[in-house]
């Protein structure tokens, strides 16, 4: 990766060197160990959730969708288990995005780019595609040999390649397919998709996401992280000297020697490094870098080199974690003979955690206390007030009632405004005069025109507040809104 280049070796068409370079293909070797196990586990969990969540059912009563997680675009509703969100509650997503962003910052201040290494979809799917590739074409050495061989292709090799790409495409297609299931009733849509009854847009999206999955995980791989994704650029500004990054502990590793030579020198009582220059850490790296060169832009902190190195250290009978999650401070401290210190709890992480807790708390509180019956009032602007023939004064309001519950509601409207004022809702002949009653259908809004009239003998002030109370007759739930009653 970072060999010294002689200026004469630069392929120049002018003074600048080559304009572009082909990708150096990476052949990550399989590895086993702690971090590999964590990665397998997280992959299984994430993919399991992604692929199967649309099939989870959730009973919401008659006429409501029974899918646990559903983004219902035509009716602009978002369902998440027991939560149902309306478009005007989009601020919950804002809150979610804030929490997600700060959670990334927090991860970064604790363990660097662990998001990149363990949870990022690009990493997860690339890992999955590599697993398929290994299964079919063999491990690092075989794959390199097969790619490098200039022999004409044998049937066996061709079938290998075809099989690999077929499985890749199958995974990619399933990925795209799972995506569209979040936007419609999953079992129904699956049936429709299979019988070619589904709407065109579903097929288009499956096509798009199949293509992106196949290209990004099959071909682009680590280049997405290196060239395309902005997160690696941002993280440099978020990391600090305490963040635990995958670090080659050069205080312990240098000077690199062979196993035999190291044993000889140790017998003489000399200080030698533990690194035996076996290149296992480079062989397993999914981004193809050498971690021993120090922190690098390409490193996604996945810890696979730690596993590889640990396996080697175990074999040669040296302590583990020559490569580990660590920071430069500790390397310098060890060189000075001090014990390493780890500061997970520090100002930065406390502040991030506090922000997450605060935003999360606000969201949970507002969700728990939000009213399923709501009323918005808008005063007529033109005219603000109308004088009637008998001298009384009337104000008109546009009232929008929101019924977010799963059943129809019978509601009554009261207006506390000027003394002896009357309320009338246009188009509603209520059995109870001055207390109009209306049915709002389940999960819907209705807009009413409401008139408040103050009698002539009692001229109110220029402007007095008027309070609207909406009462659910059955449940006694009250929502209110305040506006003004204006006199001409």
């Amino acid at each position: 990766m970072n060999k010294t280049v002689n200026p004469k070796d630069l392929t120049t068409d002018d003074d600048y060197g080559p304009l572009y370079a082909a990708r150096k293909k990476v052949y990550p070797q399989s590895v086993s160990g702690t971090f590999r196990r964590i990665k397998w586990g997280l992959m299984a969990f994430c993919l399991g959730v992604y692929y199967f969540l649309p099939f989870v059912r959730w009973n919401r009563g008659l006429g409501a969708p029974s899918q646990a997680v559903l983004i219902d675009l035509p009716n602009s509703r978002f369902y998440f288990f027991f939560i149902e969100l309306w478009p005007q509650e989009v601020y919950y997503f804002t809150g979610l995005l804030i929490v997600a962003a700060v959670a990334l910052f927090l991860m970064n201040s604790i363990g660097g780019r662990i998001w990149c290494g363990y949870l990022c979809p690009q990493t997860v799917w690339t890992d999955l595609f590599y697993a398929v590739e290994r299964l079919i074409e063999g491990d690092r050495r075989e794959r390199m040999k097969k790619d490098a061989s200039s022999d004409p292709m044998k049937l066996e090799r061709i079938s290998e390649i075809v099989l690999k790409h077929s499985i890749w495409l199958l995974i990619a297609w399933w990925t795209g397919g799972a995506w569209v299931l979040y936007f419609n009733d999953a079992p129904t849509l699956v049936k429709e998709l299979v019988t070619f009854q589904a709407p065109m847009i579903a097929y288009i999206w499956i096509g798009i996401l199949t293509a992106t999955t196949y290209i990004l995980a099959g071909y682009m791989r680590e280049q997405v992280c290196t060239y395309i994704c902005p997160w690696p650029r941002i993280q440099a500004a978020l990391t600090d000297e305490w963040a635990l990054n995958v670090t080659y502990r050069y205080d312990r590793g240098e000077k690199r020697t062979s196993v035999k030579k190291a044993a000889e020198l140790r017998a003489l009582g000399q200080q030698v490094g533990d690194c035996v220059d076996c290149y296992q850490c480079v062989a397993v790296c999914p981004t193809g870098i050498d971690i021993r060169n120090g922190p690098q832009m390409e490193c996604i902190q996945c810890g696979l080199c730690i596993d590889a190195c640990d396996n080697v250290m175990t074999k040669i009978g040296r302590p583990k974690r020559l490569i580990g999650y660590d920071n430069d401070i500790n390397i310098h401290r060890r060189q000075e003979g001090k014990a390493p210190i780890y500061r997970i709890v520090r100002a930065r992480t406390v502040v991030y955690s506090a922000i997450i807790a605060a935003v999360g708390g606000i969201m949970i509180y507002t969700l728990a206390t939000r009213s399923l019956l709501d009323v918005n009032v808008l005063h007529d602007r033109n005219p603000v007030a109308v004088k009637l023939s008998d001298g009384s004064i009337r104000n008109a309001y546009t009232v929008r009632l929101l019924n977010k519950s799963g059943y129809d509601r019978l509601i009554a409207i009261d207006a506390n405004g000027p003394v002896n004022s009357t309320v009338h809702v246009v188009g509603v002949d209520s059995v109870t005069p001055d207390r109009p009653m209306i049915v709002i259908p389940r999960d819907a809004t209705s807009e009413l025109r409401l008139l408040v009239t103050a009698p002539a003998d009692n001229n109110p002030e220029k402007s007095i507040p008027v309070h609207f109370h909406v009462t659910d007759i059955g449940l006694g739930v009250v929502a209110s809104a305040t506006d003004n009653f204006v006199s001409p």
Binding site: N2, T4, G17, Y227, V386, V426, G427, R449
Partner: protein
């Protein structure tokens, strides 16, 4: 041009661009090949775009492209689709009776939305954007109607107008009693004060109520009624209420009596389709003053 290739970064062993800012140099790393290919593809794409879509401005027009795409045509298509979507509902507006429209929340909402838009386009110049009216232009929010405030009456007024020249239009006007020499100046002042007294407004000192009543009975009661309650057949306003189209002060009243009044409301039949006129009638009725 300076020779940059000889400038090698000592740490990475790669060549630099040779530029330097505060001791910081930029590595001359080659671009990824796929990236450059993508860049070239965007250029190819752009050229293709010029050919098939409108792209280049000319002196008077622009290149139209092979697809014949235009955003105006898009708008026409969108509007046609909108009409198609609304087709059933607008048809329902056309067939339902005015009373039924007000009874059905969905139809009422549609009629009010439609009516509001059309009102803004056609009626607001005189009646104001919310139907608040102005001097000489009736306020449509109140409960005082020259030609009647039931749904049917409002519909009729919108269809045929007032003094609009349409064969079915509302006719009737306030005569110019002064200009035509029917009443003399002092009689006009007296009757003006009498009319003010009908709705409880103050009157001029020393005005002769009996004389005013007599003048009114002889000249005005024919249209405005003996009790001055008005007559919607002729568009004669109620003179006993608190609402005045041309003002209630003495000067305005004297002007009205001596010059006469004959405001014009255009007829909309033929200019707007029946369903739209219905929607407008419902909208005006639902402003709150409807009877």
């Amino acid at each position: 041009m300076t020779d940059h290739s000889s400038d090698i970064d000592s740490v990475s062993g790669k060549s630099t661009t040779g530029h330097e800012w505060d001791g910081i140099k930029e590595l001359n790393t080659p671009l990824p090949r796929w990236w450059v290919i993508c860049f070239y593809l965007t250029i190819v794409w752009a050229i293709g775009y010029w050919i098939v879509y409108p792209a280049w401005p000319l002196i008077q027009s622009n290149t139209t492209g092979l697809f014949g795409y235009s955003s105006r045509a898009d708008v026409a298509v969108e509007l046609a689709n909108l009409e198609k979507i609304r087709g059933d509902k607008m048809a329902a507006l056309g067939t339902a009776s005015l009373v039924d429209i007000e009874k059905d929340p969905a139809l009422l909402a549609l009629a009010r939305a439609k009516g509001k838009t059309v009102f803004g386009d056609n009626c607001a110049p005189c009646h104001g954007s919310g139907g608040a009216g102005a001097k000489g232009y009736p306020n449509l929010n109140d409960d005082d109607w020259l030609w009647g405030g039931t749904l049917d009456q409002i519909m009729q007024t919108i269809q045929f107008g007032a003094r609009s020249g349409h064969t079915k239009t509302h006719e009737g006007q306030m005569l110019a009693f002064g200009k035509d020499g029917v009443l003399k100046g002092d009689e006009i002042v007296t009757v003006a004060n009498y009319v003010r007294s009908l709705s409880g407004l103050s009157t001029r000192n020393g005005y002769d109520a009996a004389k005013g009543q007599k003048i009114f009975a002889e000249n005005c009661a024919a249209c405005h009624g003996d009790a001055a309650k008005g007559n919607q057949e002729m568009g004669a306003p109620d003179l006993t209420d608190k609402i005045w189209l041309y003002g209630s002060d003495e000067a305005s009243l004297i002007e009205t009596i001596s010059q006469g009044r004959a405001g014009v409301m255009p007829a909309w039949e033929g200019r707007l389709d029946p369903a739209t006129i219905k929607a407008m009638a419902v909208y005006v009725h639902s402003l709150g003053g409807g009877k």
